[in-house]
């Protein structure tokens, strides 16, 4: 890759950003980011921690949308790899004296490594079969964290690892915000360039993409690896944020949550993760008082969105008149 | 009364209109064929009759009963049975089960037995292989299963959707032999074919379709005098 090519890619990102910033979603994102920047001033420490969790979840969901939405590799292993990143980071920091900041990066690397064994079947299979094989792998990792109690702390989880920035929550908040925004931008940059184009081509028809001269397995592997590594980074951040990592963090319930957020937000639009994260996660925080009823709402929301808004909230028009018109045209 | 009647039918898939104001009246007691270039709507016409394609406007009747946009089952009940392109036998079922499902709407045991006998009499090889899975048979035998299955409900009229499409030349001969035998037994048919020469040898009445509109209809013999139609749709390339 030459300097010239990099410059072209950057130009492309810049012009796409300018375009996208003018859309409904773009304006909303700008507002949300601005809000996020001032969050430490506006919210109580407790609330700030929730916002931080939300940011990290958005990153995790976005990395799943990157794999599942753009490439069509409907993986169930994402939450497990998110958990692997978390475990790897805090264990490296606590047991081997790795600097916490470096351990976050290493969490991503380890998650990427853990995605490799399952990438072969994921690349070979298609459609629902990808979901099945990754679900099995996720369960293996989940049970692994329980079985390997000497390393992971077993069912009760792993605690007592060093804190980020000596426990300064505000500095940590800005660090999380910056890292989340940077990684989101990195994925965005990949998606608006040739990489994203090929990804969508693969989703529509893997054979056609191959015939057009693209090395489909290499693209899919790269996509899977990048998405999984970013999930690992998100998991590492989350572990440092909530100061514990335990098996429930990578249980299938967690995966279903990520999925619900991605799908409700919209699998065809990268910003869907932001909407999905805010709506589902924010909703469950606001509705904490009504307890389990919020999960009833989620389940119903997942059904309604899949049935009537297959492109999710980010990808759908809410022009009421237009929807009515479509209704009658049917 | 017409056996099958299309009255000013518009039909198509999604946004794509294929049939334009098509009117056809199929009279009982003869073998009909519909010919026309690719994309002229021949297949869509059959599918519209069978309830497989949305009819946007107009009416389809079978012996006077309105079956526009009816469920395919209602059309089968009225004795209109389609043999899909390629036959599409159920490969995992035995030959006999394939025949049984052909007469899915028949429940009377005696009637069923009689129909089996008629089909086995026409295709003795099917009786020999009745317990074999249809998918294990040769191409020619599978075609017999498909014909037998379509005859099981003893249809008033059989719709054949390009029966010779994609078949090896000797199988094409087989298909037209079967069609000939059905004709001898007085079975009404509507045949859609690319193989115009062959189908004109069997058919007594011809409809010519182009871009979803009817360009010509008449006795096969009369068609031979229509130089313009012959040149445009039958073409020298066939002769």
């Amino acid at each position: 890759m030459t300097v010239e090519a990099v410059r072209l890619a950057v130009d492309r990102v810049r012009s796409r950003l300018r375009e996208d910033a003018r859309t409904r979603n773009g304006k909303l994102f700008a507002a949300i980011t601005a809000l996020a920047v001032f969050a430490p001033v506006m919210f109580s420490p407790y609330r700030l921690e929730i916002v931080m969790q939300l940011l990290i979840v958005i990153l995790a969901v976005a990395s799943w949308v990157f794999v599942a939405g753009y490439f069509g590799m409907f993986t169930f292993a994402h939450a497990a790899l998110y958990g692997v990143g978390g475990y790897a980071a805090v264990i490296l920091a606590a047991e081997m004296g790795v600097h916490p900041l470096a351990s976050i990066l290493l969490g991503g690397v380890v998650a990427g490594l853990f995605s490799l064994p399952i990438s072969y079947p994921v690349l070979r299979l298609s459609g629902a079969y990808v979901g099945m094989v990754t679900l099995a792998y996720a369960e293996i990792i989940y049970y692994g964290t329980i079985i390997l109690r000497d390393v992971t702390g077993g069912p009760t989880g792993y605690t007592g690892f060093p804190q980020l920035f000596g426990g300064d929550r505000v500095v940590m908040y800005y660090f999380v915000l910056a890292l989340v925004v940077a990684l989101m931008l990195a994925m965005y940059a990949l998606l608006v360039n040739r990489f994203g184009l090929v990804a969508r081509a693969i989703r529509e028809s893997s054979d056609a993409a191959q015939m057009l001269g693209n090395n489909v397995p290499r693209y899919k592997l790269t996509g899977f690896l990048v998405g999984s590594s970013i999930a690992g980074v998100a998991g590492a951040l989350q572990a440092y944020n909530i100061l514990i990592i335990s098996p429930p963090m990578l249980e299938i319930d967690q995966m279903i949550e990520f999925m619900a957020m991605g799908i409700i937000g919209g699998l065809r639009t990268f910003g869907g993760a932001v909407f999905g994260g805010i709506i589902v996660f924010g909703f469950s925080e606001v509705l904490r008082d009504i307890g389990e009823l919020r999960l009833v709402v989620w389940g119903a929301l997942l059904i309604v969105v899949t049935l009537y808004f297959p492109d999710g909230i980010a990808g759908s028009s809410f022009d009421v008149r237009k929807r009515f018109q479509e209704w009658f045209d049917r | 009364m017409s056996l099958v009647e299309l009255d000013a039918v518009d039909a198509g898939y999604g946004e794509n209109q294929v049939l334009h104001d098509l009117t056809l009246s199929i009279q009982p007691g003869r073998v009909n064929c519909i010919i026309g270039p690719n994309g002229s709507g021949k297949s869509t016409t059959l599918k519209a009759v069978c309830g497989l394609v949305d009819v946007w406007d107009g009416t389809i009747r079978v012996r006077g009963d309105d079956v526009t946009n009816a469920h395919p089952r209602d059309v089968v009940e009225r004795g209109v049975v389609m043999l899909p392109q390629g036959g599409n036998v159920f490969p995992e079922m035995t030959v006999k089960e394939n025949l049984r499902i052909g007469a899915f709407l028949v429940d009377d045991r005696d009637v069923l037995e009689r129909r089996y006998r008629e089909v086995y009499e026409m295709f003795p090889v099917l009786e020999e292989k009745k317990r074999q899975r249809a998918g294990e048979l040769s191409g020619g035998q599978q075609m017999m299963v498909a014909f037998g299955r379509a005859l099981m409900p003893d249809p008033e009229i059989l719709l054949l959707d390009e029966p010779s499409a994609g078949l090896a030349p000797d199988l094409v001969d087989d298909v037209f032999d079967q069609v000939e035998r059905l004709k001898e037994r007085g079975r009404d048919m509507i045949i859609i074919e690319q193989n115009v020469r062959r189908v004109l040898d069997v058919a007594e009445y011809v409809y010519v379709l182009d871009q979803g509109e009817r360009m010509y209809e008449g006795e096969t013999e009369a068609l031979r005098d229509e130089d313009e139609i012959m040149r445009m749709y039958i073409g020298e390339r066939h002769g």
């Binding site: 079985i147 997942l302 | 899915f104």
Partner: protein, 291 residues
Amino acid sequence: MVSLGLLAQQIVNGLFFGGQLALIAIGLTLIWGVARVLNFSHGAMFMVGGYVGFFALGFTGSVAAAILASIVVVFALGWVTEFALLEPMRDREEFDIASMVVTLGLAIFLENAILVGVGSRRRAFPALTEEVWRVAGLTISVQRFVIFLISVFALAALFLVISRTKLGLAIRAVSQDDQTALLMGVRPRRVYAITLGCSAALAGLAGVLLAPLFTVYPSVGWYPFLLAFVVVMVGGLGSVRGTLIAAMGLAIVRSVSTIWVAAESAMVLLFAIMIAVLLINPDGIGGWIDG
């Protein structure tokens, strides 16, 4: 060294467990084979069956009535699921994934609706009998034996329906080629709904039959679902015979392996077997024996 007696005991336990597993898994493989739906709400149907049975038993005091009520209610649930949730999406290109997501949504919905409605308390389901037989040094729980017999009976009934009846003919036709079946006068939509109903009813039956062993609580369905899921994958999605073999085989593997390792490790073993089978042949055991 493991004593032969323990080994034999674990094999017998595995056999009984295999019967239970087959009962849960067969419905899962059936709807994939016929309707191409990987039903993530299968475990929730199992759970609903358990609750219906629990309340029906409390109301009528009759185990037979409880079983019947579970079958009927969960059949209806499956039927409604097809018409309300799956049918509207059937023409979509990515139906296999969309149906997975929708049934996942349904599972979350049902589980938590029950949680909100009746609480998370585990409901103890009375044992059919506490009696135990001792045969040739083996301990055989009569309850498990009865459950095994009912499972075998239910599966045999299902096979008879599929292979001998007109309905079964229609089901097989639709699973092979729904468009051609339509031309024979079959109504595929109704066949899908009946199949989903039957599959759900089997899960419901399993839910009430196994209630004395599992007790009844809102998330009780997940573990059996995951096990059934592995069985179905190893057996080959859509293959009834493959699923039966896999259910028996995996149940015995799991049961025997627990002599040496913890239950969690046994699960890891099962999932590893599943991935290996998917890699070697995505059609599983069914791909070898049916083809």
